[in-house]
Symmetry: C2
Subunit: 507 residues, 2 copies
């Protein structure tokens, strides 16, 4: 590499770090807005976000960046770059090309549409009136279709959107796994509905003071290996985790005093996300590679902790006494086995974010089928409420009373996020696949949980997944760890085993 | 004004708002660093600060800004600008000229020196070893002397530094008021030392749980009219207030469980700062005028609330029962009058930030005399420890055992802040002057405090001071409100009256 090339590589890295700095400042501002920024300061804060975001957009689409990317993407030069720089160039170029292909005017129009659509959606949801939201959703779909044309596509247009959240994922793959899910999970849901041995759950809904829930949540976070020197726990309306940098990965949770599960499982879920972000290799700091590789892999980590750890009997054998000591007596007459059955109750329901482990994938599948239909041209926006209700009836046996608890329940579409929903189900399937390999390396998984020793689990995930950040693509990680591609069978097996146990079914 | 000029004014305002946005983002980052940012994320956050600060410096010294300022400062155009734009141009030009006159290389050297000097100072203070810090302080003084030459000065070089914190303030004025203070306060300190009726104070130092102190502090904040929809209270090692924007003015305090006064008076003090920032006219948002007009006027607000409200007997007649209810019985046998005397105990001491109302101005005077001597050429840095100790002996009758509790106690000089200290005493004198005028408009001041009705006081300060932000200079405010210039007599009168009461002296 010539001196000039070396210099350019350095300039490029500095340029990338500058972009990273803007992203980090914005991440902190968003965290603050959600955790307690005084409401009268919000309008002005929005101006600040506007200024920093435009600067960020300019940095991400500038001629300076284009010239770095052009030179550093040349084959002869690429070969001489460090792996991190090479991958950074690749990531930045993908993003740059995507941004550049959309005419500036349309980009601006789209940003304004998103913002308007979100506030209209809020009103429409509250009033349970789809007709308010319909024209905005139509416009969002239409613009996304146009963008897909700008970006270019192969056989399936929807693949282009999937790729934004889960690089490499396609309709062909998803159709297959969701067919498996449909064929296997729906019958199980029916069997459970007919079960004569449902768990008793009334004791779950006693008053559990928020302060005590917090104390227990903090204990659990320590146990899973969340690093408090690189994070903090706050309270919000909707729990989330945010990786501001790997040394600053914050979690929030929500305390419902009449249902402790919201905080406990919410915290464990967000801890899964946080452990990922906290353990990305320090070499990647300041590059766009310093984050989870995809929404699906991210969700595999949160769901792994929430379900495979947090809803596991062995975990509660260790933690049940502590939970009892923080509670006001609500579990005193309940065995840990009955407690375990209660927290694993499954019931078809209308609201995705309140769904249990078993029915959750069906909620996702419905959204996937609808999105695919919209971009295939099979469905029209105006028909979505009817389609939604019909699918809920058919897969889950429940029908929303109104669109507020139906097709309007999620914010994603209002934000223009089409192709995002499948990540939730993918994460779940990935998690089951990872778990099955992990058990080969850590055969005493349950025994460790029963001892409260979660360190080997965390280290395994650090080693196999976390440290790579975006250096590996999601399907590359899956292949490297499990030796195969996406496979729904592991999740199905897990659910059959678990629910035959919880509901004492003979499957 | 021509269309082009109108357009330029708009572009200028947008440019200024952009600068404001960077300042706001940085203010939030600094608040976060002090209130609980995870320590492992700090290094990376420092990088972010670096990127945003350089961008801010570039924006503040750019040719684009220069061209706006040149055109908009022309007399014929100035006259056609709105008052806010005109004042904004004036403020920005002052700052711009100051920055531009220092060669970029020296600016960079100075920033690095400040940062290094602060960490050396920390070590020197801990080891109580002035010799470690001496070369850095010498260099800081030397560079400031050079800057003064670049900036230009009239008779007194130190005036240039004073003007940075208190526009318009001069050595000529300060010499006079500090002479008054010296002549009147030192004899009072001696009389108090010889008093036969010192207050009993042992009951102050009982255990008062932090949570209860917080609850009481929140009550007091509500009472003074702090707007919680435009602020929040957090916990830090050193209390502070920060105006991120007028709708987001945050306070922090510190809880010492064996001395509740730290939190209570700390909170009231910071509330005084916060009320100022919360009540600046909304028209000024996004301009550099949207902040307190000077350090001195800012301190007048905090000290007004801390001393004239918080250490007032009438205030405690209203609040003493509430304080008792939060405490663990420590005040049960103490009358409100004895409580009032106890919280107003005065004793010469070594540490400025722990000093009482009466001796505090003497601590400031010592620092003022030393700074003036350094820039006059009367004093040399190497002699400061001896000079310091001699002045403490002479004015306060106490001598530090080592330089850690002497000349090294404050961080200001390590940060290159020469000319800042006088603001503390100025604020105190301003507050006494304002109080005396306020009493003409609100003759039932004490009665209102006794009813817990602090709204008229807040509204008076809003009307006379707060709303103007930087639209008026400090001495302009003083003149407009009191009809005169700086005058130490009001403070002296107040202190004589108060302490003759507390110590039952016959003066």
């Amino acid at each position: 590499m010539s001196i000039n090339q070396k210099e350019m590589e350095e300039q490029f890295i500095n340029y990338v770090k500058k972009i990273g700095a803007y992203n980090e400042a914005l991440a902190l501002i968003y965290w603050d807005l959600r955790t307690g920024a005084p409401k009268k300061g919000v309008d002005q804060r929005t101006e600040v976000i506007g200024v920093l975001s435009s600067e960020l957009f300019e940095l991400s689409t500038s001629e300076e960046l284009e010239s770095y990317l052009t030179v550093l993407s040349e084959e002869s030069i690429q070969a001489q770059l460090s792996p991190i720089t090479r991958k950074t160039v690749e990531e930045m170029k993908k993003e740059f090309d995507r941004n550049k292909k959309i005419p500036a005017e349309e980009h601006k129009e789209y940003v304004m549409l998103q913002s308007k659509a979100e506030s209209v959606w809020e009103e429409a949801k509250e009033k349970a009136d789809f007709s308010l939201f319909q024209p905005y959703l139509e416009k969002l779909v239409e613009m996304n279709k146009r963008f897909i044309e700008y970006w270019g596509h192969k056989e399936n247009k929807y693949d282009v959107l999937l790729d934004m959240y889960e690089p490499g994922m396609t309709v062909a793959v998803l159709d297959e796994v969701f067919l498996d899910v449909k064929d296997k999970i729906i019958p199980l849901v029916h069997k459970i509905a007919a079960s004569k041995n449902p768990p008793t759950t009334d004791f779950l809904y006693q008053t559990f003071p928020a302060k005590s829930q917090e104390a227990f949540s903090l204990d659990v976070l320590k146990q899973v290996g969340y690093d408090f020197d690189a994070g903090r726990l706050d309270k919000t309306v909707h729990p989330f985790a945010t990786g501001i940098n790997p040394g600053d990965v914050r979690i929030t949770t929500k305390y419902d005093e009449s249902d402790f599960r919201v905080a406990v499982f919410g915290t464990i879920h967000e801890a899964g996300h946080a452990l990922y972000e906290q353990n990305i290799s320090k070499e990647l700091i300041g590059t766009p590679l310093c984050t989870g590789t995809s929404m699906g892999i991210h969700e595999s980590q949160s769901l792994f902790y929430e379900n495979f750890v947090g809803r596991n009997l062995a975990f509660w054998k260790h933690n049940y006494e502590a939970l009892k000591s923080f509670a006001n007596g609500q579990f005193d007459d309940v065995s840990v086995e009955d407690f375990y059955r209660a927290i694993n109750e499954s019931k078809p329901s209308l609201i995705r974010i309140e769904a249990d482990e078993l029915t959750y994938p069906l909620h996702i599948m419905i959204r996937y089928e609808i999105e695919k239909g919209l971009f295939d041209g099979d469905f029209e926006v105006k028909d979505l409420p009817a389609i939604w209700n019909e699918k809920y009836q058919s897969y889950l046996g429940v029908v929303p009373e109104n669109d507020g608890e139906g097709v309007l329940q999620d914010v994603h579409w209002a934000g223009g996020s089409f192709g995002y929903f499948p990540s939730y189900a993918l994460g779940y399937m990935y998690a089951a696949q990872l778990k099955q390999v992990m058990e080969k390396d850590i055969p005493d998984f349950d025994a460790l949980l029963e001892q409260g020793n979660l360190l080997p689990v965390k280290e395994w995930l650090n080693e196999k997944i976390h440290r790579f950040g975006k250096m590996k693509k999601p399907l590359e990680i899956l292949k490297d760890v499990t030796g195969e591609g996406l496979n729904a069978q592991y999740l199905i097996d897990y659910l059959y085993k678990k629910y035959s146990d919880v509901y004492q079914l003979d499957l």
